[in-house]
């Protein structure tokens, strides 16, 4: 389980346009990450 989201544990996500974005590109400073359940 992660304690630090370091360079080796960066993640690739897909945005609404279908483009791949990386966590590090989206989090420049302190960030709240909210993992959702299913969308309903």
């Amino acid at each position: 389980m992660l304690n630090t989201v370091n360079r080796t544990s960066d993640f690739a996500f897909i945005d609404a346009s279908g483009a791949t974005v990386r966590l590090f590109d989206m989090t420049k400073g302190p960030t709240i990450l909210i993992f959702l359940r299913h969308l309903a």
Binding site: T4, F11, A16, P30, T31, L33, I34, H38, L39
Partner: protein, 135 residues
């Protein structure tokens, strides 16, 4: 929602919402709920697994705490839109600092188990207040 988001921005933070739903579903839900946050998809759930987010069984999903939570939401006007997705996957909330250290972690034990927004905001402000002064 807007008030909390403004407070997060004022504390120097940002919010990234992650779903495992297909990315084409994101715009509909963002508009329906009026989310002011960036939302991205993790369809392989690689991040869900890495952050240690679990799965709830049927007994948990229909436990009294969850039923009460949803009844309360429905009393406030919430109407489930239905889903053909995995209803067992649980969520979680994390606050990471600028060095990507996880300074706050909450892994849901059931669908109703989420921290209050104020709790996340406190964690965010604790980072801001512990930052060395510059200048």
């Amino acid at each position: 929602m807007r008030r909390i988001h403004d407070a997060i921005l004022a504390a120097g933070g940002s919010v990234l919402v992650i779903t495992f739903e297909p990315p084409e579903r994101i715009p509909f839900y963002v508009e329906a709920h009026g989310w002011p946050f960036a939302v991205v998809s993790d369809p392989t759930r690689a991040a869900y697994q890495a952050f240690g987010l679990g799965s709830a069984g049927w007994v948990t999903l229909f436990g009294p705490r969850v039923v009460l939570e949803y009844l309360g939401l429905m009393a406030k006007g919430y109407r489930p839109m239905g889903s053909d997705s995995d209803v067992h996957q649980l969520g979680g909330d994390f606050v990471i600092d600028a060095d990507r250290r996880i300074v706050f972690a909450h892994r849901s034990n059931d669908p109703a188990d989420r921290p209050a927004a104020e709790e996340l905001l406190r964690a965010l402000r604790s980072i801001s207040s512990s930052r060395p002064c510059e200048g």
